[in-house]
Amino acid sequence: MNRRLVLWVPLAAMILVARSARAQEVTIGYQGLPYKASGESSTGIQVSDGVLLHVGAGAEAGYDTNVFYSSVGAIASPMIRTSVFGDLSNATRTGAAGRISFDARAGVVYRRYQSDDSAVEPFRNAWMPTAGLALSAGGGQFGFGIADTFARLEDPPYNPSSVPITRYNNQASAEGRWAPGGGRITATLRYTNMVDIFQGAYSFSSTDGNYLMLDGSWKWLPKTAIFLNAQQGYIFYLNEAEAAVNKKESSYPLIVTAGLRGLLTEKTSATVALGYTNGFYAGNFSTGGLWGSTYLDLSAMLRPSMLSRIVAGYRHDFQNAVVASFSYNETFYASYVQQIAGRLALDLSGRYSHRNYEGQFVDPLQMATGRTDNFVQVGGTLDYFVRNWIYLGVGYSLLSNSSNIASVEYLKQQMFVRLGLTY
């Protein structure tokens, strides 16, 4: 659980396309190559007493139908992607690490477009390193944990004449947990800092986000709890001058929710969160209205068997946006994972997100017309595990956006064959 706490950066995020269903911590979209240990207990290299090293590598070869996310005249390209990682922890092959645990990892993804197209040439190669560190202590009545994750992301721009979209993201967090009375009541206080730095055309949108969260829950069943959660944030833009030109303003997002988390039956778990939210933007435009001030998160996970899992969910919230002040989001997502005969692993997932942008727009024309995006994301992989640490597979990814702004619409598909190993 503690490792889960902070080392969670979906690899799909590294390719700038995925967003996870946070409540169930299920990654939606194409499940890329491994970038950290999978939690497999029977693998790993015992470096010394109490120190286990997991390593992994992978390679994908495939085809991208739309390198620049273009609405017209899409440029396609063959592509390869490779990754390597190492993950050091004090977990053991036989079980938990104990009351104090650490986990440090580092990896890098290399992506290359093979097309000879001159438009693709400047964006042919991309190196995307990641790193993470987590320390956790306690676990009984008191617990404490700190963590940090870093990722560099690079992707071709929308406009081939522009520079790559490069993003440096670092997220640090510290939290304390208090569980008196045998753990029926649990309180968690967490501070999170997220530095998000863009290079190139989106540098005006580099931010520093600070969030303080207090969560209290009461378990009336061992794995089912009702909760009250409050989170106050403070987001400000790092490049003030550029941000001002592009009408970006600081905000103090507040989310207060109550609901239920945990198991409904042995095979079904759910999250229901309903509450109040407000962006408290510094300027004239901010979130508002009854529905705009409502936060709703519904998700359910069903495990029909030991080898399958189904997740479905819906979320209504708002999110800080690059192209405008914020967007109201209506998001539906689903995921299906099935293992077959202990050798085949099927992963299918999809997400639809309706985004209604509000506030001040970067593009004045969009300010006049407004902007509504309908984003669709589908991912699928089918892997054959030769051993429990090596697999061969195929993958498919679809990204699509339809909008009232025709120029921002696109359809992007990627197909891969892949080889991965994690030990």
């Binding site: 706490l5 902070v6 929308y158 997220m194 055309a201 969260m213 794995k223 946006a321 192209v323």
Partner: protein, 195 residues
């Protein structure tokens, strides 16, 4: 009536004195009779111990009882050290009973001394009989204390609880707040002029 009392008393004393193996001058057992001769079923009319012998014997009894008390207290301390509550309860009960009997014995010894001084043979015999009985009881209590059963015999082992968890139930705690996940997406195209 007086003869009947003497008879009963003598009979009782005779039987109790027989039981004392350490008595310096035990009454001759019936087996001493010549084989084939008719058995002597008569009852001795008075004890064969002299007053001095009675006093000495009573002191021997007192010493034996003190030894028993010391031994039982040792067993009590041992049970305390071992935190064997079952054995401690048993031994403590014996200690209490031994002390009560020793208190009775002290009174009897004092009375015996007075009876010897007064040359009161009946009283002397009576008190000596009491002492003999009390000594027997203390010896029995000492033996019972030695045999107090503790956890070593009644202890059936540490409680073992076997828990079977449905493998469908996730091992992690789903009631915890979600991790501070990073929502990293490719930013939407701001305008045809940017990015």
């Amino acid at each position: 009536m007086v003869n009947a009392k003497v008879l009963l008393t003598t009979t009782f004393v005779a039987s109790t004195v027989f039981a004392q193996g350490q008595a310096p001058a035990p009454i001759a057992p019936p087996s001493a009779a010549v084989p084939g001769a008719p058995a002597d079923v008569s009852v001795k009319q008075r004890p064969t111990l002299t007053p001095e012998e009675m006093v000495n014997q009573s002191r021997e009894y007192a010493k034996n009882m003190a030894d028993v008390l010391k031994r039982v207290q040792g067993l009590q301390d041992q049970a305390k050290r071992e935190k064997d509550i079952i054995r401690l309860n048993c031994v403590t009960d014996k200690v209490v009973q031994v002390r009560v009997n020793m208190s009775i014995a002290e009174q009897s010894m004092a009375s015996l001394q007075e009876a010897v001084t007064r040359a009161d043979e009946g009283e002397r015999t009576h008190e000596f009989t009491r002492l003999t009985i009390v000594n027997q009881k203390v010896q029995v209590l000492g033996a019972e204390a030695e045999n107090c059963i503790g956890e070593d015999l009644s202890f059936v082992g540490a409680t073992k609880v076997d828990i079977e968890i449905d493998p469908n139930i996730p091992q992690y705690d789903p009631t915890q707040p979600p991790a501070p996940g990073i929502d990293i997406e490719r930013p939407g195209e701001a305008s045809p002029l940017t990015g």
